[in-house]
């Protein structure tokens, strides 16, 4: 009998309901109501879960018998020889994701650098070459004049919901493509440097010259008038490269979307 039965626990025996008092170590008759009675020696009390199933009620009279199809009398097929016991691989539960902020930062700076830092070198190289080829191919299609942050000092004032925008928010309003291009990392930083040091009286900025510098109105008109649609398609490529790098950053931060479970051999 379970030694942890508490006082007042209801026990069931073959002869009826009993209750147990641990102080007197007596089993009572009837439910757990404190009224004790002696228990028949040799009778083993049962817990509620140990009660044998009650007999089923008699089944209703069966209907007319339906003849069953004859059972084939052929000999049973010989059993296949037992397969050798192979080691089975068991998928373990995935460990919790550890966020790698350093890897994410590195992948922002240069696509794929975070993956290389994490030891996933081939994948990092795929990201690096893939995104840089896409970004600079797009710039080449646009004659190297489709990644920039414009100077808005001489633009009409911009007001949204009564608030006058200026500086970078206003520039992004006039050139929203840069919100996607920015995420390619350091390859888009010359735009920021050109924006900060923009001087309309000069033809080139410091360090980078005209690279990623806001083109003049005349240059833009010439590109769109004399060229084909490649100039427009070019900035689309650069935006796609920047947005794809967001996925690469997330891969460096938290790993791929579908993680491989660790394998264990039993």
């Amino acid at each position: 009998m379970n030694a942890s039965i508490r006082r007042g626990s209801t026990l069931l025996s073959a002869s009826g309901v009993r209750s147990y008092n641990p102080r007197s170590r007596k089993i009572g008759r009837g439910p757990a109501n404190g009224l004790l009675a002696t228990f028949t020696p040799g009778e083993i009390p049962l817990m509620a879960s140990e009660i044998p199933a009650a007999p089923l009620p008699p089944s209703p009279p069966a209907g007319p018998e339906i003849p069953l199809p004859p059972v084939p009398t052929t000999a049973p097929a010989p059993l296949a020889p037992p397969l050798p016991q192979a080691k089975t691989e068991v998928d373990l539960p995935l460990p919790p994701v550890k966020l790698d902020w350093i890897g994410a930062l590195l992948s922002y700076l240069i696509p794929g650098l975070g993956q290389v830092y994490q030891g996933r070198i081939a994948k990092g190289l795929l990201f690096f070459f893939g995104l840089y080829v896409l970004f600079f191919y797009g710039m080449w299609m646009g004659k190297w004049h489709n990644v920039w942050l414009p100077d808005v000092s001489d633009m009409p004032p911009l007001e949204i919901a009564g608030n006058r925008l200026s500086g970078v928010p206003s520039s992004l309003y006039y050139r929203p493509q840069f919100m996607g291009q920015f995420w390619i990392g350091v390859a888009a930083w010359p735009s920021v440097l050109q924006y900060v040091n923009y001087d309309p009286n000069k033809d080139a900025g410091p360090i980078f010259g005209t690279f990623e510098r806001a083109p003049t109105e005349e240059t833009l008109n010439k590109l769109q008038r004399d060229g084909n649609k490649r100039w427009d398609l070019g900035w689309v490529y650069t935006v796609i490269a920047g947005v794809l790098n967001l996925l690469v950053i997330y891969d460096a931060l938290a790993g791929p979307m579908f993680r491989e479970p660790p394998k264990r051999e039993d």
Partner: protein
Amino acid sequence: MVFALLAVSIYWDLPVLLVIVSLVYAATRHDRWDKILREGFGWGVRIAGFLFGIGLVLYLLSTYI
């Protein structure tokens, strides 16, 4: 007409976009190269089919309407 459509250089830039987007996107979803290549191929086929369908519809509209 079809040859003139194919001669436009803008369409020859699309394979670069298609291949890179398919491979990079697939690589952000898996770490194993067999899965990356398989899913990248699938995405490439789907994107190419979509672009081809759009191009065909635009060509038919511009030709017969």
